[in-house]
């Protein structure tokens, strides 16, 4: 299932994104292969979140093309686009849970829209998802404002997974979690990727995640991908930022 090079699940070609006079992404190319966990790193403010938001269609691009599941998102009809959106899940940096709905309603929201199934099945699947992301069933009736930061991330992941998507975008999933929680989260992403055959696009700053969870790493700098490959390739790279990132104090601590 993994490593289908001919048919990348996401194919980004020459995209340029500009805010006013500042060019954030400048002719960027990126492929994400089916079944892999791609870690996406880069300095703060380099445009990692912008790229994610551009792929999912929240930020308009000036030039270039984006294909997801082989569908060109610019040339697609509304129904094609809906179909693509139904097959991906997005975990936003702050969770973006609907604050006026309970955890259960949040997770069931996409199901209610897209599937015609009974309330009983939705409730059962919700419990399964909660268990998968490591939350207790009691959490289901709470409101987002009554959850801790880590729980919000987990619920948001459960919501992103609610329709069993083929592709998930995770925007800094482990930021704000304690190291053990973050480790669990990486493990969780790994497990879900194995069990559900997910493709994961993960924006992260967390070196641990890169080492333990990711199959491949892409590095963003100056609006382009400056390197992409395995963790070993990254460590071998002579690029100054990469050298600092992967051979700095923290990196040595993680590797040891």
């Amino acid at each position: 299932m993994a490593g289908d090079i001919e048919n990348p699940i996401i194919r980004v070609r020459d995209i340029t994104v500009q805010f006013g006079a500042t060019r954030v992404l400048d002719g960027l190319n990126l492929d994400v292969k089916r079944g892999e966990i791609l870690g996406f790193v880069g300095p703060s403010g380099a445009g990692k979140s912008v790229l994610t938001r551009t792929i999912i269609g929240l930020v308009p691009k000036v030039a270039g093309s984006i294909e997801v599941f082989g569908v060109d998102l610019d040339a697609s009809s509304t129904s094609q686009r809906r179909n693509v959106e139904r097959r991906w899940g997005v975990l936003f940096q702050q969770g973006a849970l609907f604050s006026s709905l309970t955890v259960r309603q949040n997770i069931q929201f996409p199901m209610r829209e897209y599937l015609r199934v009974s309330q009983r099945l939705m409730d059962e699947i919700t419990m399964a998802k909660l268990a998968m992301v490591g939350l207790k069933p009691e959490v289901a009736e709470r409101f987002p404002s009554e959850l801790s930061g880590g729980m919000i991330k987990r619920v948001a992941l459960a919501r992103a997974l609610s329709l069993d998507p083929d592709l998930v975008f995770l925007d800094e999933p482990t930021s704000g979690l304690d190291p053990i929680g973050a480790g669990d989260f990486d493990e969780l992403v790994r497990t879900l990727q194995r069990t559900l055959g997910l493709t994961v696009f993960m924006v992260t700053h967390d070196l641990d995640s890169l080492y333990t969870a990711c199959d491949r790493i892409a590095v963003l700098g100056n609006g382009k991908i400056i390197a992409a490959g395995s963790i070993a390739d990254m460590q071998a790279s002579q690029h100054p930022w990469l050298r600092q990132y992967f051979h700095g104090k923290r990196a040595r601590a993680v590797m040891s």
Partner: protein, 377 residues
């Protein structure tokens, strides 16, 4: 291999095999649910049953759960149901859903008579709480004002000026336009009806008294409650939601002093100015209509106005303005700080802010009317 999911029943000796084939994923969930519900009826039969999943092309949480649900309901009884032919790819997924406990019963709230009475009782009891909250906020604002008087350097001039711009300067065009139109309408209606008695000229008396005493300030106060009261509630409410107010507190700032006082002060200064401009615009509009529609020329209008009204009318109107501003500001700030964590709560409190603001403005207007009548103004 993929395609419509099926669940075939194949007898194998004295055992029954349920062979699952096709795609068992979310997109087929409604079909799957029906099939599984059908198969669940086999429970309690004499045969032993196993579920063969070796031919399943694709499985996700929905499919895995439904298979697990089927296994559980078939197991209830003397016979044990088994899942057979599970491929290594999916075994971890099935293990995962196996750990899920049966769904706890979700309690749904039903509408009952006692429930409704309970709600009414709570609302009435809540009214006292509302008034207490307002008095509390009034006290807090006055205390903060007192502290600022003692330490004038802690006064936030920039913030106050900023809010003055928002609630006063930027409100001028819309306030002037609307009061102008209201003045026009009052004059037109007055002339239309007074003409039958040949009393056209008395429209000037009516316009002068009404605008200066009541309409000018009341209308402007209602508009300010809708325009600025709601803005205050939304601002403070979203700050509350994002823990900005807690952040201020931990840095040793008093949110009342930093956020509420400048807003209150801006509003208390702004409303008399707006009420004055509004009254002038209404008189101008009324005069214009009286001239063009009623044939009362401007000189006659002005001399009649001078006879009809005294400075008392103007003072009565102006005295009310800052009090109404304070009421609007206090209601808006109390509601803003009462916002809880959800977007829905923000909406509710913003609505409550405007509704209560307008209500209290009208109540205050009535109180003032009694007061001025008894002191003979």
């Amino acid at each position: 291999m993929s395609g419509e999911p099926k669940l075939e029943r194949i007898a194998k000796g004295n055992a029954l095999a349920l062979c699952a084939t096709g795609t068992w994923t979310a997109s087929f969930a409604p079909v799957l649910e029906r099939m599984v519900a059908d198969a669940e009826k086999l429970a309690g039969g004499p045969q032993s049953i196993f579920i063969d999943v070796s031919e399943v092309a694709k499985l996700d949480t929905f499919g895995a759960w439904l298979i697990e649900r089927l296994r559980r309901s078939l197991t209830q009884g003397p016979i044990e149901a088994q899942i057979a032919g599970l491929s290594a790819n999916y075994s971890s997924l099935v293990d995962e859903v196996r750990r899920v406990r049966a769904t706890p019963v979700v309690e749904t709230s039903t509408i009952t008579i006692t429930g409704m009475l309970d709600q009414i009782g709570r609302t009435v009891a809540g009214l006292a709480g509302t008034v207490a909250g307002l008095v509390d906020m009034l006290g807090a604002v006055l205390a903060a004002g007192g502290r600022v008087l003692i330490h004038p350097r802690s006064f936030r001039l920039t913030s106050t000026v900023h809010h003055m711009e928002q609630v006063c300067w930027r409100a001028v065009p819309i306030i002037v336009l609307i009061t102008f139109l209201i003045g026009c309408i009052i004059a037109q209606q007055g002339i239309f009806h007074f003409r039958r008695f040949g009393a056209d000229i008395f429209v000037v008396d009516m316009l002068g008294v009404l605008v200066l005493r009541e309409i000018g300030v009341l209308l402007v106060a209602i508009m300010v409650a809708g325009r600025s009261g709601s803005a205050y509630t939304a601002e403070l409410g979203s700050m509350k939601m994002r823990e900005e107010i807690d952040a201020l507190r931990t840095m040793g700032f008093d949110p009342i002093e930093v956020l509420v006082l400048p807003r209150m002060l801006a509003l208390v200064l702004a409303l008399p100015i707006l009420a004055f401009l509004g009254a002038m615009a209404a008189l101008y509009g009324g005069g214009l209509v009286a001239w063009l529609y009623g044939g009362v020329d401007p000189e006659a209008f002005l001399s009649r106005l001078r006879d009809a009204i005294s400075i008392d009318h103007f003072i009565v109107g102006m005295v009310k303005a800052p009090v109404m501003a304070a009421v609007i500001g206090i209601v808006a700030c109390v509601e803003g700080l009462a916002v809880q964590g959800s977007a829905e709560s923000l909406g509710q409190h913003t609505t409550a802010s405007v509704v209560k603001g307008i209500f209290f403005v009208i109540v205050m207007d009535g109180v003032f009317a009694i007061f001025f009548a008894s002191i003979g103004m």
